[in-house]
């Protein structure tokens, strides 16, 4: 049974970013209408020892993966917010994508 206050069109948003952005991302998602926000920790597949040897620079290896449900009509606004506030269009910041959801209850 579809719950009354759940939108019939939902997107499943996944964000992967450096761990230092966790708190601000969760706060922003919550204020933008994200629900069931889940935080998981992961690591990038980059071979940091290789980068350290070659350039002396290592992008943050430890990552956070944040998932949440978004109403379809808010997905564009959230993606825009990730670009404008967190600069996800710049390298070494993060990525975000949405997957359509069929059924919720």
């Amino acid at each position: 049974m579809m719950h009354d206050d759940v939108s019939s069109c939902l997107e499943f948003l996944t964000i992967i970013a450096g761990r230092k952005l966790k708190d601000s991302l969760v706060e922003s998602l919550s204020s933008e209408g994200g629900r069931l926000i889940t935080v998981m920790y992961g690591k990038g597949s980059v071979r940091s020892d290789y980068l350290r040897d070659m350039f002396g620079l290592v992008p943050e290896e430890n990552k956070v993966m944040i998932t949440c449900l978004l109403p379809c009509k808010k997905a564009d606004a959230v993606m825009g917010m990730l670009v404008s506030k967190f600069h996800f269009d710049k390298p070494n910041t993060g990525i975000a994508f949405t997957v359509p959801i069929n059924i919720t209850f």
């Binding site: 997107e11 998981m40 992961g42 597949s45 993966m65 993606m79 670009v83 994508f97 997957v99």
Partner: protein, 113 residues
């Protein structure tokens, strides 16, 4: 990589310790990068020793790639690290609707649809 090519979220579940090996296979097929998460498997008949349930440690590799590349990666992973090998990889993809990422050129007016 063109803007119009559909993207897929590629999930690969492997036994613990083999994520780097699979990430290397993905890299050779042209994947830009991946994120590795720790997980544990729960089979239909969990093993129990002295009342303690033994779960299998797993790693999940997640990457967003072109549809065409996802098929190449799945084929390569199945060949080199598929079921029956020590990796015991399981691959699946999900369709990506909207995305923001740096190595894909997004249109200037907002996120790619």
């Amino acid at each position: 990589m063109t803007e119009s090519s559909p993207k897929k979220a590629l999930y690969i579940i492997v036994n613990v310790g083999f994520a780097d090996e699979v990430a290397e296979i993905m890299r050779k097929e042209g994947s830009g990068g991946a994120t590795i998460l720790n997980a544990r498997g729960s089979g239909p008949m969990p093993k129990s020793i002295l009342g303690i349930t033994i779960d299998t440690e797993k790693e999940i590799i997640l990457s967003v790639v072109d549809e065409e590349m996802s098929e190449k990666i799945i084929h390569a992973v199945r060949q080199k690290a598929g079921l029956g090998t020590p990796c015991n990889s399981i691959c699946f993809t999900m369709p990506v609707d909207k995305f923001v990422m740096t190595h894909v050129s997004a249109p200037p007016d907002g996120p790619t649809k």
